[in-house]
Subunit: 418 residues, 2 copies
């Protein structure tokens, strides 16, 4: 088995001033892990000659594959290509197949009816000492260099272009080139138990784990994801071993386990509804469509999700959700009474088997001494049962919305599995 | 003015296998930039002794402030604290004020009625050679070390805890300690023009920029954000200079400019509606609440946003949105006719001044030869005008949803500003 270790270098000032969140490197790491290539470092540097140069030196010292993303666009803040040219001692030449591809894209895909600009033609210029990797989805090609036994892949920063290149060119190349080991992960999701208590419960399990299996705790939204990781040579051996330990882990957390797959809570709920052949609808106030967005982010959700009424105002709660004016006046929109009417009515209106309703104050303004910012009422209903729950979050607007949605889905999960 | 340069080290295997996307370092970089501290490198390493150790060595070689986040939780996959202890040559001691704080949190905030576990008490153990930074929101304190003239801040990885520590402890400390210069950014958003064409237009502007001002292109969702950055000693001088060049830039892109602030499209629309004292509602099909989520992610949106009907099925389109059955049967849900009825009806139902409606096929399944995956109809309406638009996206479900939402908001912006 070849020992392969990868670094990812992301290039761009926007990453260093926090204007853009890097999602590319997480996606790349996932794909590389799947084929048994561990990423041991990720580095972000700005659009500066010296910083990029140093990063190339440093990362190739400890890794034998270095991925570089970003810095290949058509504008002049991109210095990556001339730098790579010099770093690997080549010179820029016009690459005819790339020029043809760029021309094709402009004529048949972008269809803006514009002639190729000088800077677009420049995208077809490449160092003469690299292998060109065709970028089906964009104008900047990928490039593969080699120096002192280290491979360097330069990929565009546009996510879907980078992903296309990784899938069509990079991954197949690496699988052919190396005799790769395998990394296996097993992930499960727990709810209703804190990280510390979970860790206490798992002390004997952890101390019994063999050295090549590790356990990680990933807390988020009041839930804790547990992940076992194993690295080894033989796929069968690794799978057998990690499955055995994962089974033991599942038995230890059975009472708090939501799923034994690396999937989101909304995916679990979708699966349960499909299995039961049941439908669901939502009535959202404070979450403003976020619960619905989570549910519909799952492919195939149209088979169980009917829709939602988002009632941000009293008027819409009355007119579209038929909440009683008297209830609203007496208890206020953020109350057990209103959220109960909301969930009952949406169930009827949408003619579904299940429904979720939420009403709360997400902040920063709108709180009172009786109902401070972060106060939330959640209701979930089936044909025969309604469960309501009051919660209070103390975070910013964005996180309060996310936590409310996660807790509403959690309560629905409870109803679906009781 | 002191020359200060920062690195951020994020610790955690979950970052390197792509299970978690790092948002902490972007937030930190933003805050540090505001006070004139440029971040020149960000490095992610796993929960491995050698990797963390090497990163501390490397980053302190080129930076004089090193931030470390993650690796401070109560579970045993966290090795950061003992490592820091050894790296800086200290020993772990129980820190009484932290223990009191942890005890207080367990008794009065978490309120789980549980005694402190051994591992919670351990959170109050800190190296004896650091300054303790109180973490008001959690159990793991921040720590400040100094070595060879470099400052090292160790912060927990939980975002709101890290943010609290940065705001209350770290930023005030750095502002007191250093005579900081200033970094100023000016950002504007354009739509309807490609990155290349924009760059062509801005060639003379760019070549006239002084050396200490840089221009960056940040394309996303078919829009391009332009950012000017200037670094200097004197706040007034920097502001005057960057404002002058920003004004020139704005004049050059006036015809395609959406906003001259670093704000989202939904924030711009919110501002326009507030200024006009108008209201808006949405009727979403394929975006499943995402447009509504974007609109309501803006604080204060309840003053102009009424709500939405999310109609994922034909039945809900008919029953709640009163779309004609005949129209649905004749043209299908993804059609100009249906989206026009949707936008008209939601405007009436919600009694708003403006409305947005979308219907499309987001994939991966559900396409036909006539209406392939990615086909979308958008409609926006005011009291006297309806604009419809057909679009076709070729990406995955998630990105198709995001692009549809961005384009629907863009069309609404067009209506609001015509």
């Amino acid at each position: 088995m070849d020992t392969v270790l990868a670094s990812i270098i992301t290039i761009g000032d926007e990453l260093l001033i926090g204007q853009v969140i890097d999602t590319n490197s997480a996606w790349m790491a996932q794909e590389l892990n799947k084929i048994g290539i561990p990423v041991h470092r990720k580095v972000a540097v700005g659009d500066k000659w010296g910083a990029i140069w140093d990063a190339l030196n440093q990362e190739s010292n400890t890794s034998n594959i270095v991925f570089i993303t970003g810095g290949l666009g058509p504008t002049s803040d991109d210095i990556t290509k001339p730098l790579l040219c010099q770093y690997f001692g080549g010179k820029l030449v016009l690459h005819q197949p790339t020029l043809q591809h760029v021309t094709y894209l402009f004529e048949h895909v972008f269809k803006r009816g514009l002639p190729l600009a000088e800077r677009n033609i420049k995208q077809a210029e490449v160092p003469d000492n690299c292998i060109i990797l065709k970028n089906e989805l964009g104008t900047a090609p990928g490039m593969l260099f080699e120096k002192n036994g280290c491979l360097f892949f330069s990929l565009p920063g546009v996510p879907h272009e980078m992903q296309g290149l990784m899938k069509q060119e990079v991954i197949p190349f690496l699988q052919k080139k190396f005799n790769l080991g395998c990394i296996e992960h097993r992930t499960l999701l727990t709810a209703g138990i804190g990280e510390s208590m979970l860790a206490d419960r798992l002390v004997p399990f952890e101390s019994d784990l063999p050295e090549n299996i590790s356990l990680a705790y990933l807390p988020n939204y009041g839930m804790v994801r547990l992940r076992l990781t194993m690295y080894g040579e033989n796929v069968q051996v690794v799978n057998d071993a990690i499955n055995k330990h994962f089974m033991a882990l599942k038995n230890l957390v059975q009472d708090v386990m939501i799923t034994d797959k690396d999937e989101s809570l909304e995916a679990v709920i979708g699966r349960l509804l499909k299995e039961k052949n049941k439908t669901i609808a939502t009535a959202e106030s404070c979450t403003g469509g976020y619960i619905s967005h989570l549910i519909t982010s799952i492919a195939g959700s149209s088979s169980y999700y009917e829709g939602s009424v988002i009632s941000y105002s009293y008027e819409v709660k009355e007119k579209l959700l038929h909440v009683n004016n008297a209830t609203l006046q007496k208890y206020g929109a953020v109350s057990q009474e209103v959220v109960t009417e909301m969930v009952k009515n949406i169930l009827e209106l949408m003619e579904t088997d299940y429904a979720i309703a939420v009403s709360g104050i997400m902040g920063p303004a709108g709180g009172t001494s009786e109902k401070p910012v972060g106060t939330v009422w959640i209701a979930v209903a089936g044909k025969e049962q309604i469960i309501t729950k009051k919660l209070h979050f103390r975070f910013n607007r964005q996180r309060n919305i996310q936590l409310t949605a996660a807790n509403a889905l959690l309560l629905m999960h409870q109803l679906l599995t009781q």
